[in-house]
Subunit: 309 residues, 2 copies
Amino acid sequence: MIQTYRMTEEEKQYLEKYDVTKYDRPSIATDMAVFSIMGDEKAIEPGKNRSAENYRKIPEQKMKILLIQRGNYPYKDCFALPGGFCKKGEDVHETAKRELYEETNVKNAYLQPVGIFGETGRDPRGWIVSHTFMALIDGTKYKLRAGTDAWEAHWFNIKLEKKEIQKNLQEDSALIMNEYSLQLQYEAIELSAVVVEKKKFEHYHEQVSYEITECQGIGFDHAKLIVYAFLALQKQTEQDGKIVFDLMPESFTLTELQKAFEIILGYSLLTANFRRKMADYVIETEEIVEGAGHRPAKKFKRNVENFYR
Amino acid sequence: MIQTYRMTEEEKQYLEKYDVTKYDRPSIATDMAVFSIMGDEKAIEPGKNRSAENYRKIPEQKMKILLIQRGNYPYKDCFALPGGFCKKGEDVHETAKRELYEETNVKNAYLQPVGIFGETGRDPRGWIVSHTFMALIDGTKYKLRAGTDAWEAHWFNIKLEKKEIQKNLQEDSALIMNEYSLQLQYEAIELSAVVVEKKKFEHYHEQVSYEITECQGIGFDHAKLIVYAFLALQKQTEQDGKIVFDLMPESFTLTELQKAFEIILGYSLLTANFRRKMADYVIETEEIVEGAGHRPAKKFKRNVENFYR
DNA sequence: ACAAAAGTGTTAAACTTACACCCATGC
DNA sequence: GCATGGGTGTAAGTTTAACACTTTTGT
């Protein structure tokens, strides 16, 4: 970095005397909302090589989020987002990357900061500011490595429902409240929470805040962080679907891709239109999926020209 | 907050012994990229009640960013984003709001976190993580209060130019580099910097990083933060123009609004099309701007129905 | 009169939406 | 044969882009 700025002797002395540690400082943590799309992987009944379902049917894929069961206080035995503290010499983004690798063994994922949560009282251990990241990983790749890790980490099915509970519009101010019901499920474990989104407009400027009003089995304020991260994923998917590809393997069928969109958005799309919209982003490969009881599907991959810009 | 979770005696004891302060912790700061659109307010020559320009012409409006001149080390005499440290008991968003008020006397502004910068060495005083916020304020309102503050804060004209300097596309990885030339000017003071944006794609996942390669008169890594914030503003303007209204007063002419868009985007729009696109977002008021040497303009205000959702 | 901005109308092209339809496969 | 998913065509409606044109004012 070329800087015209040079340190003087006086400045060096000033900085030597300067002591940041005399001010109050927080700990910085990253919490990772790791999303993936996977099937439920039900135990297959012996004697049958597919589950009892119709042999033609595509196994249902679901939105998953990675949660760990806390082995220690606070919130012992509750589930929470994986994460950890930022070490000295580490940028928050590096922390996130490291945590993701430690927790999932995944090195290549899409990582994006989605929020900063520093409210007092959010962590009983003290002043801890959480930097929440969204990570999108390709579920098929993860499955290959799934056997290797033995922590109490599980992929929970995630479901989020929205309900408008208030809408008060005035000339230069407004209050809109939405209630989000969050449901998380892994085998017999069911967690849930209700998070209220409060959109305030004052003098035409929007301010949004979130508050947990009910919570079952989710540690810290992580119910809020989960809702926040998932909403960010939904919003970006609507605005520019390219983010969805970060959940996909190298090659995939267009139906798989469409299902991914539908799972995130929570509503279904028309196939013909979807394919036209995706046409520029993908190109055909030689690969074909056969043996599924219906017309074989072409596999596609990302179209480099339109992806990298 | 209703939590099924209750603290046990054991947990209380655990937490009492727990000492966050034994780990390394950073200081947390907020830096504010305060944008506004205003005219240059040239001194008007005595005897003329308008500047030498054509009496019909609308005074040119420009994109401005608020910078303060540092009175102390480090980067003494350089210009930097206003900001300050996060106090205990304060959420980062509250810090941002407080700083904005202290610096500009403005209480109502659009505030949005745009980035987290925690690289080691970014601040010679120690480990300081900056949370960069974008603030959009209505320049006309600010002008009314401008006389009251006496700090060395000034509204700089901001200009940002992009140049692609590398594009290397491969099958599953790519490297794209863009060079952004930043120019800031207030009266005779001219600051500048070059920031290189490096977009790396590995295994189809995008990672973006920014590096300052040249810098004149801008303190810390703030050239990077400024570029980052301005790019965020541009991107959001292209995706959903509603953010632009945060720079506007309560009522405005459609030409004023269009100019705001053009100033942010850096290119001009076709009037007829622009008006059609904005039609849903605005409604006519009774107000009319007269006495300008051309057909009087209707003033519009935000259409509450479409704004608040 | 005229320069400058305010504001409207028209057309072709592009995209979106909705629906109907055919294709290929494994059992 | 048939259920299931794979894949295409088409017509109506909507949005966008480009350009031409009219209106209204202060000096």
